[in-house]
């Protein structure tokens, strides 16, 4: 009992606890867990419908552009790498974090733009939201992901502005990073399931 009490006194003597994971990062991690399950729900629903169909893709529907999207995928993965480089630079010299952060933003914006071009092409080939279950799932899942990229981009712009003004805390960058890596990291899974 005596040792129990004295070890406890030591803990109490410390200052108020400093969390292992900053609040913003932890909140974002929990949110990302929900998001993972959301995409998991869509992808498993897609897989169920696809495996229950006799013919796939449904008759009269175009094949999805696997090769072009592979290029877009590379762009998105590079933007993730660019944000990783941002973190490395941020820890050494904050001023040098700007360039990789801008690169991450441009790469992600290029991804959204190229995916948009792909959408227009597919719409022209007769794949619409209501043309088949492939079309419904394609536009819903890819559209949801594009929306996530756009939100991540807005977050990064906000982070960039803070960096410019010298207000950016390390934990704020980390919060943005969590969401960004999620958006980048979930894409290969979507690509593998939907485009395959």
């Amino acid at each position: 009992m005596a040792t129990y009490r004295s070890s406890r006194m030591q803990v109490v003597a410390d200052a108020r606890r400093t969390p292992l994971v900053p609040n913003g990062v932890m909140g974002m991690l929990i949110f990302v867990m929900t998001e993972l399950m959301l995409f998991g729900g869509f992808l498993s629903a897609f897989t169920i419908i696809k495996s229950g169909s006799v013919v796939w893709p449904p008759p009269g529907q175009p094949r999805l552009p696997v090769e072009e999207t592979a290029f877009n995928t590379a762009l998105l993965l590079l933007s993730g790498a660019a944000l990783f480089a941002t973190r490395r630079a941020f820890q050494r010299d904050r001023a040098k974090a700007r360039l990789p952060m801008l690169a991450a933003m441009l790469l992600a914006a290029a991804f959204v733009a190229l995916q948009g071009r792909e959408w227009l092409a597919l719409l022209g080939q007769g794949l619409t939201l209501t043309s088949s279950s492939l079309g419904s799932f394609f536009f819903l899942i890819i559209g949801l992901h594009a929306f996530h990229v756009a939100v991540a981009l807005a977050m990064l712009v906000h982070t960039f502005v803070r960096l410019q003004r010298g207000w950016l805390a390390s934990s704020q960058l980390a919060t943005t990073e969590v969401f960004w890596y999620f958006v980048v990291g979930v894409w290969p899974a979507i690509y593998a399931v939907v485009y395959q």
Binding site: V11, P19, M26, I30, M37, L38, G41, S136, S171, Q172
Partner: protein, 567 residues
Amino acid sequence: MATAPVTHHDAHGHGHHEESWFVHYFWSTDHKMIAKQYMFTGMAMALIGGFFAYCFRMQIAFPGIDVPGFGVVSPNEYNHLITNHGAIMIFWVAMPVLIAAFGNYLIPLMIGCDDMVFPKLNRLSYQIFLLSIVVLIASFFVPGGGFAGAWTMYPPLSAKPEYGLTPLGASLFVTAVALEFVAFLMGGINFVTTAMNSRAPGMRMYDIPMVVWMIVIASILFMASVGPLVAGAVMLLFDQNLGTAFFNPDKGGDPVLWQHLFWFFGHPEVYVVLLPTVGIVAEIITVFARKKLFAYRTVLYTAFGTGVLSFMVWAHHQFIAGIDPRMANIFTITTLLISIPIAEMMFVYIATLYGGAITLTTPMLWALSFIATFLVGGVTGIFLGASGADIYLHDTYFVLAHFHYTFFPIAIIGTFAGLSYWFPKMFGRMMNETLGKIHFWGTIIPFNCIFIPLFVLGAAGEHRRIFDYTNFSELARPELRQLDQFATISLLVMLGFQVLFLFNLFYSLFWGPKAEKNPWKANTLEWTADSPPPHGNWPELPRVYRGPYEYSVPGRDQDYWPQNAQN
């Protein structure tokens, strides 16, 4: 997302500035005010849900009656009432009161910090919750009326207006449910982050009061399970409004897909609302038995185990939906397995009570009745979990009585237990014990009188989705009809006794005797703050030296040992 300050240097700054009435009651970021908002909103919704139950039970017992306060119930109105009774009681009563109200109130006070880590997110959470209620209530008044395809929203009733007959009501209903999830997502992020990052110095993982752990686990379960349902809700909204065919087999969709997405969320949801009540009961029985919680760590690990297992049982809702019988076997096994941890928790509570110095206060009566009634709910679940028995019992009143024997203890008994226990802290006044006990017996006896007959009716084969039994000669036998009438009259008695509760609540709120800081002589930190705690909770934030359940420790003058007392 801004990072909230981790240090609490500003604790003294609270309470010195005057807030306007509107800001204080409707725009507050104080966790206690948000908790009260959730509590009162949830209780108001319970009145609506209870009124709906009254209307359709009157129709079932006395077909074609002009229900006082409502009028004659038409078949589609009947479906609408049942649908919204279920949805309101689960999404707008159990969730806001048990998770949001108690979570918001108790987490910061029990772990010894001044507020949630994201107070503005917390405020936004309540505002979105309120918006979801506005959307839900608006859906009752649109052309075609409110959604009437059961709270589980199975397509095609929910997806096709020509079947469901509620073109706009169905879309608004799905939207309201989705908004409500967004609100609880924000709340859940707050609860978990706060409990992990803002605990008082000295409070280790195993010193966290059980109710906080339970709300945290429930929040994690909710956030891990809600994704697929949100996905399904979006697909359903697309089917309703944009002409897609996710759930329409004519065009390559699959209606059973919805059931999987719904119940993947829906079954963990049972544990999302159960666990907070299990935690509330743990706090109450330890205080009023003056005993340490038996096997704290076992309860904690069991709760985590239950959470994991709850993700593997969902298809037991679909035994007759055309799923593969081999899959049904697997889900029978997992379903029967999950009764083990829950039974274990009940045994732990009985072991806690064993040999205790029990005081039968109102909160203690509620807590004990939770154990008793929930056991009935759990035991009857075993029959339904076995796929063979379920084929006969599915969609009968047996199922209905079973889940009311689980949800009533969870949502209603849990709320009354928690509210009567923490009322002195929340409002600084004591509730009337005599009225509380009359209300307790006036609720618990009629409750059993409502649902025991329904077990009998269900076993006799009464189907739960029939509007008027007079057209079914084999179900309209007088002995069965009399049981239905007995259940309905018991419901009227039970609802009548709730007036007593409301009187006690509002009378005590304004004129009850003043409560001291620690009227129950409890150990946890919230009882060291003033009653009610001011903005910022403590002038100086507490430190913790021991676990929350040190009651009747040998060799001490007092039979309790507050967590923050140095010796």
